[in-house]
Structures are given as structure tokens and as C-alpha cells.
């Protein structure tokens, strides 16, 4: 049967906050846009974001975008690109107002303005008093934003391919991306979507780790597609472990709990963050708090029969505050930890949460294919959101900057795509060889016979990543991890599906996802092994100091031969003075 083909001005892969905010700009501009999502759009993982989105609105305490910029640069441990960070912090303000106008049901202050709460790593006046910068819709901000964006896209009549799985990018001999091969999950039939521009907005890859706050769908699909298209991933060694996942389960308890006045205690009831971050205490940056918890547990101060977690104490807060500001958390703690936080503390431990690295882009969302500091972008290919690396988070992301990143850069990529399509009106000729290579990736899973199952290899892989690329990383442990993951990559050849039917075959999509996970996992493991310093979330007890002389640079990883290269950090902002690297204390 001939392969079905469709043509669009723009193809967006992913229907989370980044994809939907881009789609909205494009549909409003009457471009022909297709959004491909492997789940119905409101199931995308943006829906799970709890605490909020940062913008210096100054509704609660004094604030301005320049302070927000300082906090983000410091939070990134000076690895973030300062032009992109300045841009994001400035754009935060109109972006949040636009969301509000679109209908997001933000919580409100008595004067009718958007409610803002304190979050980790936020300060007034370049490192002074705590700021309150996180705009919140109770503790369901991501849900409120994602549903609103989907609603606006219904109004704008965006064309959705719901439950279509993106297999691979199609490219020509010059490396220009021509669209993607996608799979209709319900029928099992492939579809070729040709597009003048393609935006990757496929989200994160937390499923590489066994214990994660990420959803089943967060398998790094776009990142792996980019790797297979001979393009690099940047700064993949920087993976954020959120300090407060429900112990043993991994579901997230928002930083907003600490923002509202909750704090961490060990088995002796000591408020241990006073020791590790005397000023910011429980609202220190996430990497700092996560390491402090792991250290407490390793030093024998953990709670519970296995002494393997700490407690998040909330019960000193007024029940009204919990009901009003943290209703979802109360519900989650009851269901998954069996405790009512109004009465008892919540058992917590760090959980794999967010990848700072991703597909390298400039601050317009355009994909940068080389390590050349002054290199040019790849025409027509864009990336935004967690799958991308602009790089605004550097070595560590601040809470409330993720929703911001996806919304600002999704919106901006949309605007840039509009300009690009105006100047590039024609589709380029299709490259059949590239289509055949993608089809071969699908056909491989029709192989029958005995072999490992997808879930066997996936379990082995995720445990390996957790053991060898977790919160603390030393040379031998990581080198062993890289070898193990390389072997796991080879073992993929031995995996066989037992189900070869076409209709809604999740066995097959999970096999494709496992391939993606392993490619991305190796990018993380190899990049981490070679960075011989401690910076942000990348913590090396064997190299405990940050080394600006040798390592203030971005890592680039290519799948071919697991090659690495490096490129400089963009320290020059757009209009203000650069923030030079300083010791990072909270």
C-alpha cells in the first residue's frame, strides 16, 4: 500500500505547553499547522506542573526582570547563556499576561491581581531578600495553562493528529528537515507529513531513570530523533533531581509547599537545611536541597524503618492555607503516601525530574547543528521546551522557570516560523531514501522469534541509569555505567515483540520509546563521565569544585561514535552588563 502523505506549512511534534503556545501563534496567523501528539493534548506532561510560572510582575513583593535574570544566571551555576536568559526574563511578563488574557484561572490577590508565591532561588535586588515571583493557579498551574492553551487552539482551529507517534525526522542530502514519518497509533498505519518548518516540542526524558516524577510518555522522543538525524544534544549531563518526590514512589510534591512555609526535617526532627543553606534554607536552589537530603540519609539521619527518606513538614501551616493553595498536594499525599499533611509530615526523597540539556537552539528556538560559537542555525528546524536547550537553565533550573521556558520559547518559535514561512514558500523535494530509513525503523519490530521483552530491557536500563548517573557521580561508577548502557544498546537487537498486530499496539510504541530512551540515556551518561567538575546538578565528589577555567562551556554529544565536542557559554546579555561567575551560595 502506498504511504499516505500530507503537507503543512509547519509540523509541530508535541502538544504540551511549548507545542500548543507555538501552534496558537501560527494558527492565529492563518498558517497551515499540524500538531502531532502521541497522547490527546491535555494528557501532555505540562498538565502535571504544580507550583507555577515565574514572571517579575511585582504583585506581592518588589521585583523586576533584571533580578529574575540574576537569579536565573546564578541558579544555572553560570552555564546558562545570558542573552537567552535576559530575553526569557523580559518576555516572562507579557507572556504571563497573554496567558491570563487567554483564560488561565490564576489564583488572585485581594486587589484582583495574579497571586505570586515564593520559590527556591528567588531574590530581590541581586541576591537580597526572598522574592515572590511564581504566578500560581493553586497547585495546578500546569493543568490550568495546558487546558487553556488547548481551548484557545480549538478556537483557532489548529489541526491535531491525536495519538500519532513520531517515528523519525525526514531530511534531504543537505541535512534540511523535510517533515516526519509518524504512526497512527489506533490503526498502526504510517503517515508521512511534509512540512516547510518543523518544531520539536516533545518534552523531557525522565523515564530514563527508575524513580521519576515524569510520566510514562516522557521518553525523550524528539531528542532521540535529533540524534538519529546526526544532530547533537547539548549539556545532557545536567539532570535535575527534584528534592521532594514522595519517598519510594517519585510523584512530585511541589516546591510551592516550601514556598508556602513548609520545611524539611530529619529523623531527629532537625530542620537540617539550616546547616546546608543558612540564608535560603529550604528555599535554596533545587540541586542544593536534593544533595542535602541525600547527604542526610547517607549520614544516617533518614526517617522510616529503612532510614531512607526525610520528612516534609506542613502541619504547622493553617489548614485554610493548605486547602486554598495546596489542595492537589494534600490529595496526592493522602493517596500515595497515606498521610494527611494537615496532620502528619510527608515522607520525601529526591526524584528524577527535569533535563536541563537538550536540542541546542539559539534564543529564537532555531536548532544549532554545530559546536561553532558563531555557527548558523539549521534552516527550518526549531525546538522549544524541555526537549530544547536555549540554554536558559544551564547546570540547574530554578523552580517556576520551566513553565516559563516552554511558554516563552514556544511562543517565540511560533513567531519566527511565521517569518520563515513568508520567505520560504515552497516545499523542498522529498528524499525517498530518508523515508525508507524511517520505515525500516518501524519494520524492524516485525521481526519474530524468541528474545528479550521490551519491559525486561527497559527495567535493566532504568536501574542502570539510576545506579550510575544519579545525584552523586564518581569516575569509576560512571565509566561502568557507560559500558553497561552501551551493552544495553546492543541488546536492543535481541528484543522481540510478541504482539505484531496493528491496532493500538502499545507493545510496538513502547519498543520505539525504549530505543529513544537508550539513545538519550547514553547521551546523559557519556556527557556526564567527561565533565570533570561539579556544577549545578552535576555533582562529582571526585571533582568537588566548579572549574570555570576549564569547564565553563557547553557539552555537545553526537550519537555517531558517541562523539563529544564543546562550545562557549554566551556570557554577553542583550542590553545589560554580564553577570560574571561568582561562588554560588544560598
Amino acid at each position: 500500500m502506498a504511504l499516505e502523505k500530507q503537507r503543512f506549512d509547519t509540523l509541530i511534534l508535541g502538544a504540551g505547553g511549548a507545542g500548543l503556545n507555538a501552534a496558537l501563534q501560527l494558527a492565529n496567523a492563518n498558517l497551515k499547522v499540524a500538531v502531532v501528539s502521541k497522547v490527546f493534548p491535555t494528557r501532555s506532561h505540562t498538565v502535571a506542573a504544580q507550583g507555577g510560572v515565574n514572571a517579575a510582575l511585582a504583585n506581592v513583593l518588589p521585583d523586576n526582570w533584571h533580578w529574575h535574570m540574576f537569579d536565573t544566571v546564578k541558579g544555572s551555576d553560570y552555564l546558562g547563556d545570558q542573552d537567552a536568559i535576559e530575553y526569557m526574563c523580559r518576555e516572562a511578563i507579557p507572556t504571563v499576561y497573554e496567558l491570563e488574557h487567554n483564560g488561565v484561572p490564576f489564583s488572585r490577590l485581594a486587589n484582583g491581581k495574579i497571586y505570586q508565591r515564593a520559590f527556591g532561588g528567588q531574590s530581590q535586588d541581586f541576591g537580597g531578600e526572598q522574592a515572590a515571583r511564581t504566578c500560581a493557579a493553586a497547585d495546578r498551574t500546569g493543568h490550568a495553562i495546558l487546558h487553556t492553551l488547548y481551548q484557545q487552539n480549538i478556537r483557532a482551529k489548529t489541526h491535531f493528529y491525536d495519538e500519532f507517534f513520531a517515528v523519525d525526522l525526514i531530511k534531504d542530502d543537505e541535512g534540511i528537515i523535510l517533515g516526519a514519518l509518524v504512526l497512527n497509533i489506533a490503526t498502526g498505519e504510517p503517515l508521512l507529513i511534509e512540512s516547510k518548518t518543523t518544531l520539536l516540542a516533545t518534552g523531557g526524558c525522565g523515564q530514563v531513570f527508575r524513580t521519576t516524577s515524569n510520566a510514562h510518555i516522557n521518553t525523550g522522543d524528539g531528542m532521540a530523533m535529533v540524534l538519529r538525524a546526526d544532530l547533537p544534544l547539548m549539556d545532557m549531563e545536567f539532570f535535575q533531581f527534584h528534592p521532594t518526590g514522595i519517598a519510594g514512589k517519585g510523584m512530585l510534591i511541589t516546591e510551592g509547599v516550601r514556598g508556602e512555609g513548609g520545611y524539611l526535617i530529619n529523623k531527629d526532627g532537625d530542620r537540617f537545611m539550616e546547616k546546608y543553606a543558612p540564608n535560603a534554607k529550604d528555599l535554596a536552589s533545587r540541586d542544593v536541597v536534593a544533595r542535602s537530603i541525600v547527604t542526610e540519609v547517607r549520614d544516617g539521619h533518614g526517617c522510616g524503618p529503612e532510614a531512607d527518606h526525610v520528612m516534609l513538614k506542613v502541619n504547622h501551616l493553617n489548614e485554610d492555607v493548605i486547602a486554598k493553595r495546596l489542595p492537589g498536594i494534600r490529595e496526592s499525599a493522602k493517596i500515595f503516601a497515606g498521610v494527611d499533611p494537615v496532620k502528619d509530615p510527608i515522607p520525601v526523597f529526591p526524584t528524577a525530574h527535569y533535563v536541563m540539556g537538550g536540542i541546542p537552539t539559539d534564543r529564537f528556538g532555531r536548532v544549532m547543528p554545530t559546536a561553532d560559537d558563531d555557527g548558523e542555525s539549521l534552516p527550518g528546524l526549531y525546538a522549544a521546551g524541555e526537549c530544547a536547550c536555549a540554554s536558559v537553565h544551564g547546570a540547574n533550573r530554578l523552580g517556576g522557570n520551566s513553565l516559563l521556558d516552554i511558554l516563552v520559547f514556544g511562543r517565540l518559535a511560533g513567531h519566527n516560523i511565521i517569518d520563515y514561512v513568508k520567505e520560504n514558500k515552497a516545499h523542498r523535494p522529498l528524499n525517498e531514501a530518508s523515508v525508507e530509513a524511517s520505515m525500516a525503523r518501524l519494520d524492524r519490530w516485525d521481526a519474530k522469534g524468541e528474545g528479550m521483552t521490551v519491559s525486561q530491557l527497559r527495567n535493566e536500563f532504568r536501574k542502570t541509569m539510576e545506579d550510575h548517573a544519579g545525584v552523586f557521580r564518581v569516575e569509576d561508577m560512571m565509566a561502568e555505567g557507560v559500558e553497561k548502557v552501551k551493552k544495553i544498546r546492543e541488546k536492543l537487537n535481541d528484543v522481540r515483540l510478541s504482539d505484531h498486530t496493528r491496532t493500538f499496539n502499545t507493545n510496538r510504541t513502547e519498543a520505539l520509546e525504549l530505543e529513544n530512551l537508550i539513545d538519550v540515556g547514553l547521551a546523559i551518561a557519556v556527557s556526564a563521565l567527561h565533565r570533570k567538575e561539579s556544577r549545578g546538578a552535576h555533582s562529582r565528589p571526585d571533582y568537588p569544585k566548579r572549574d570555570d577555567a576549564n569547564w565553563m562551556k557547553h557539552t555537545l554529544y553526537w550519537r555517531e561514535s558517541d562523539k563529544l565536542d564543546y562550545k562557549g557559554v554566551r556570557v554577553q546579555p542583550l542590553t545589560v552588563e554580564s553577570f560574571p561567575p561568582k561562588e554560588r551560595v544560598y
Partner: protein, 230 residues
């Protein structure tokens, strides 16, 4: 623990059947964990799921006769053998996966987006905390479909009655002090079916995994209509 799950693959089965599985019951397990354990035994077993914490709304299924979100339904409260079936009244694509397109179409019918007629301010549209409180119990819907597919009126007139989810969404915008299309919204709900086929059976309230109350929302819309009519 014994499970009996609904199986149907249109490519290989002439009709649906129930299949029995035995899984190990570990402490704290949810129905989703059990379904995953079943999938480890039989890779061809199919269901939707994603976030695992009750916010994405993917894994609505019928458990022992009631619609539930699998990921937040503990096994401890269930009688054995646990019977897991797809949502009632929806066409089955495969196993527990049903076609929800009509449900989504009904949502779209209520124009579920904020509508403003006045020019937008430069900053946020102001809303008092009391006005914002009116949205609580309405905006949290995750569109899992547990309510609409538990509603007898929806079973009987799925093409004409909008169902509890879409009507809850309609109410969410009617209740928003920022929305300026109230009249149009009410006009669109006129007639004997779209809204008025709700017979307050309240299955939706029982089914909602987020503790929302679509029946109350429907009653609220009716009350506004009545007030406007006088």
C-alpha cells in the same frame, strides 16, 4: 490477587471475552500498577495511561462496575476477582482503549475558551479572590470521561445531550467574571436535549475522580437560564 480483564483485538478476536490474571498484591498498589503487572505477563494487553498521579486523565476504566481512574484507585478497596472493563457505551478500539471522539466533540460544542468583547488591558484582567472562587470545582476537570460515560442520559442520547463533562466546562466559563459571552453560551444550550436531558441521576458525581460535581454545575446553568428568562 485475581483480575478479570476485558479483551478484544478486532484483528484477532471475533468477539470480546474476559481473561483471568493473577498478580502479586504489594502494599500501596493502584489498579494501574495491577494493569502494568498484567501487561508484563501479556504484552498484547492494551490500555492508556501516563502520569500515574491522577492529573492527565488517560486511564479512566470501569472497575467492578464503576468508572475510575486506574492510577489513583487502590487495590485494597476492591472485591476479588477485580473486573476491569472499558468505559461503558463507547466503541472499543482494543481491550480497555475506547474511542472518545464523541466525548471530545461535545466538549468543543460548548466553545470552551474565554471570550472577551472589550479590549484587553495591558496587564492582567482584574478578578477578585471571591470571583476567582467561583471557578473552584469547575476548572479542575481533567477530561478523563469517567462522568459522561457513566451517565444514562449520555448513553441514550449521545448525539444530542452534551453530557456532564461538556456542561461542567460550559459552567466554568459562565462562572468566570472575565468572560463576556454569557448570553451566547446560554443560547447555545437552549432546547430540550443539550442541557435539559440531565435528569439529575447524579452518576457523574459518583464517578468523578477529582471530586467535582457536574450535576450541581448543570443545576447552576439551569438557574441562570431561569433568572435570565424572568
Amino acid at each position: 490477587m485475581k483480575f478479570s480483564v476485558y479483551r478484544y483485538n478486532p484483528e484477532t478476536d471475533s468477539e470480546p471475552y474476559m481473561q483471568t490474571f493473577e498478580i502479586e498484591h504489594r502494599q500501596g498498589m493502584m489498579v494501574r500498577d495491577a494493569l502494568l503487572a498484567i501487561q508484563e505477563q501479556d504484552e498484547s494487553f492494551t490500555f492508556r495511561h501516563s502520569c500515574g498521579e491522577g492529573v492527565c486523565g488517560s486511564d479512566g476504566v470501569n472497575v467492578n462496575g464503576s468508572n475510575k481512574l486506574a492510577c489513583i484507585t487502590p487495590l485494597t478497596e476492591l472485591k476479588e476477582p477485580v473486573e476491569v472493563r472499558p468505559f461503558p457505551g463507547r466503541p472499543v478500539i482494543r481491550d480497555l482503549v475506547v474511542d472518545m471522539s464523541q466525548f471530545y466533540a461535545q466538549y468543543k460544542q460548548v466553545d470552551p475558551w474565554l471570550q472577551r468583547k472589550e479590549p484587553l488591558p495591558e496587564q492582567e484582567i482584574l478578578q477578585t479572590p471571591e470571583e476567582r472562587d467561583q471557578l473552584d470545582g469547575l476548572y479542575e476537570c481533567i477530561m478523563c470521561g469517567c462522568c459522561s460515560t457513566a451517565c444514562p442520559s449520555f448513553w441514550w442520547n449521545p448525539d444530542k445531550f452534551l453530557g456532564p463533562q461538556a456542561l461542567l466546562s460550559a459552567c466554568r466559563f459562565l462562572a468566570d467574571s472575565r468572560d463576556q459571552a454569557g448570553e451566547e453560551r446560554l443560547d447555545k444550550l437552549e432546547g430540550p436535549y443539550k442541557l435539559f436531558r440531565c435528569h439529575t441521576i447524579m452518576s457523574c458525581v459518583e464517578a468523578c475522580p477529582k471530586g467535582l460535581n457536574p450535576t450541581k454545575a448543570i443545576g447552576h446553568i439551569k438557574a441562570i437560564m431561569l433568572k435570565e428568562a424572568i
